[in-house]
């Protein structure tokens, strides 16, 4: 593998403010803003979409010296313990596999981070910008675990699934990367092509508990 670091052409996937282009999240057609219900305090499940985030997939041997370089670039250490995640400000790094991490951050910061990785990571690794292929659903509420239990076979009990744990698993008939962000707060990273299906599934699974959409 070439040791040069400029062989990969990268581009800023986020159009500039002067471009006449509007970013549309995978749930744009649903019009979540129009059905946002701030008053529904009784809802057992509260849903919101964190669309148009930036997502980078980093792959690198965990024994490689590049792990330390990545830590310098990110400002936080990559989680090397299986099924864990780290978070700092807007930046989230999820363990996906022993040699794979999913890095999420605001869209307008992705190009800078990717540029730094390309410039500073010299050696055997892979970095792929998958921002357009995924979206993030945030779920909270006192019945969020009950709703998730219908959707995924992983054990969601507090003792098995503490805050910060992240799993890639099956979700409904699709897949998702599930992370617990709080006592009754979860976050799902889903494929763009399954975004609508999973949104419909969540509506159905939440029906008996009451579903509210938050902004």
């Amino acid at each position: 593998m070439s040791e040069t670091n400029s062989a990969v052409a990268i581009m800023n996937q986020v159009p500039g403010s002067d471009a006449d282009v509007r970013g549309e999240s995978p749930l744009h057609h649903v019009g979540l803003a129009d059905i946002t219900d701030q008053s529904n305090g009784d809802a057992g499940v509260v849903f919101s979409e964190a669309g148009l985030l930036g997502h980078l997939t980093l792959r690198c041997e965990p024994s490689s010296p590049l792990i330390a370089v990545a830590q310098t670039i990110l400002g936080i250490a990559l989680p090397l313990t299986p099924l864990t995640s780290v978070e700092q400000g807007d930046l989230v790094v999820r363990w996906i596999a022993p040699d794979e991490w999913l890095i999420s951050l605001p869209n307008d910061q992705v190009f800078d981070l990717e540029t730094r990785f390309r410039a500073e990571m010299n050696g055997h690794h892979s970095l792929v910008n998958g921002s357009g292929g995924m979206t993030v659903y945030k779920l909270r509420g006192r019945h969020v675990v009950d709703m998730l239990k219908k959707s995924t076979p992983v054990d969601l009990h507090d003792s098995e699934f503490p805050v910060g744990k992240v799993v890639s698993t099956v979700f409904a008939k699709s897949g998702a990367v599930i992370r617990r962000t709080g006592e009754s707060e979860f976050e799902l990273v889903v494929r763009r092509s399954f975004a609508d299906y999973i949104w419909l599934w969540i509506q159905d699974a939440s029906q008996e508990y009451g579903l509210a959409v938050a902004s």
């Binding site: 299986p82 099924l83 596999a97 022993p98 794979e100 076979p153 799993v167 698993t169 099956v170």
Partner: protein
């Protein structure tokens, strides 16, 4: 449904997350050109079908997407051992030379 231990995720997960990929420890011949048709055919197509212990390759395809080996009893479905690719099984039947 039963639970399978993933040695990369270090926890048990539902069978639904995994796929079996057939017999493990099949070494590709170093010099395929030197093989007879029968030897090449055996390498390519012929697999064990034991009654009892079987070493299999599995993949955690809905999770970490890593491959690993499973020693399973084909009679009872009991998983005797899970070990990473490149490692050798410790549970081996007397008739089974890996």
């Amino acid at each position: 449904m039963f639970h399978i231990y993933c040695p990369h995720c270090c926890e048990h997960r539902e069978e639904e997350e995994f796929h079996v990929k057939g017999q493990a420890h099949i070494a590709r011949p170093v010099d395929p050109e030197a093989l007879s048709d029968e030897e090449w055919g055996n390498y390519l197509y012929f697999r064990k079908n034991p009654r009892g212990l079987h070493h299999e390759l599995w993949v955690h395809n809905a999770g970490c997407r890593k491959f690993f080996n499973v020693t399973r009893d084909t009679v009872t479905y009991e998983i005797k051992e899970v070990y990473k690719v490149g490692e050798q099984p410790s549970v081996v039947s007397p008739a089974d030379k890996v």
